[in-house]
């Protein structure tokens, strides 16, 4: 796996990433794809949202049980978005604002400046809200006094 590009994000440090119940990811920035891969972005501008698959390049090791900013209970790492996972792969849905050549201007970043991008894919369809269950996260948000509806918008 080699980076296909890097994220230019206003988030310079972990403490700047919104976390916890009701956190919203509205940061705007640029996905800078390597110039030699620019042809691979052809037609991407027709899509409103993209999947960004990226590497947790500042995480080391993993925990099978982990706690998150949502509550104090341990949860299985695969039922969380923790960076400390067996393969340090991350997934974010962003809104594509515009494309300038190999630069994709997007909203909804939750990754740090300089993060390596592994892949980009078009976001094609959504799971209907009435079919979605969010397990322990709904319970944790309810305890924290937040609405338990799925968050909408670009950040996930």
């Amino acid at each position: 796996m080699k980076p296909i590009g890097h994220v230019r994000s206003p988030l310079a440090g972990k403490e700047q990433i919104p976390t916890g119940a009701g956190a919203r990811h509205e940061a705007e920035g640029v996905l800078e794809v390597l110039p030699e891969l620019e042809a691979g972005l052809t037609d991407l501008e027709g899509f409103s949202h993209l999947y960004v698959i990226w590497a947790f390049d500042r995480a080391e090791g993993f925990d099978l049980l982990t706690t998150t900013p949502l509550d104090a209970l341990p949860h299985g790492v695969f039922s969380t978005r923790s960076p400390r996972r067996p393969n340090p792969i991350a997934l974010t849905v962003v809104r594509l604002l515009r494309r300038d050549g190999c630069r994709l201007h997007v909203r909804g970043l939750d990754m740090l400046d300089g993060t390596p991008i592994l892949d980009l894919k078009p976001y094609l369809s959504s799971v209907p809200a009435d079919e979605l269950r969010r397990g322990w996260m709904t319970e944790a948000e309810a305890r924290a006094g937040q609405a338990s509806e799925p968050k909408t918008g670009a950040g996930q």
Copy 2:
């Protein structure tokens, strides 16, 4: 990157994977996670849908411009789900039917039997249908005489 498990799928060969306009992925099967990682699945059963990040282990090389079963026009690889991409990473949303220890019974498989799984994540929220644009795919479906609404359900 090492597999965290493998897919047990009824799809034995590429020709069995539904493709083209209106294709639906309803295949059921099992995500077999390595027994030593079972604790990482704790609480996963509370989620209705999962992201499965997996490897296109039978793809070699990549094309920056590619055609798909949807139409005869070339598109940038990052605006398609083609397996021949710079990093051979795939993403599928599946519905979680039930968990038996380290075996996850799911619906919505579009990967072949034996496919290596790289990561699992909870599906947390959807992009609202009225915010979603699907670019060249909508146009291709319209030409093929299919409805251009986003497909719903587990398969993407």
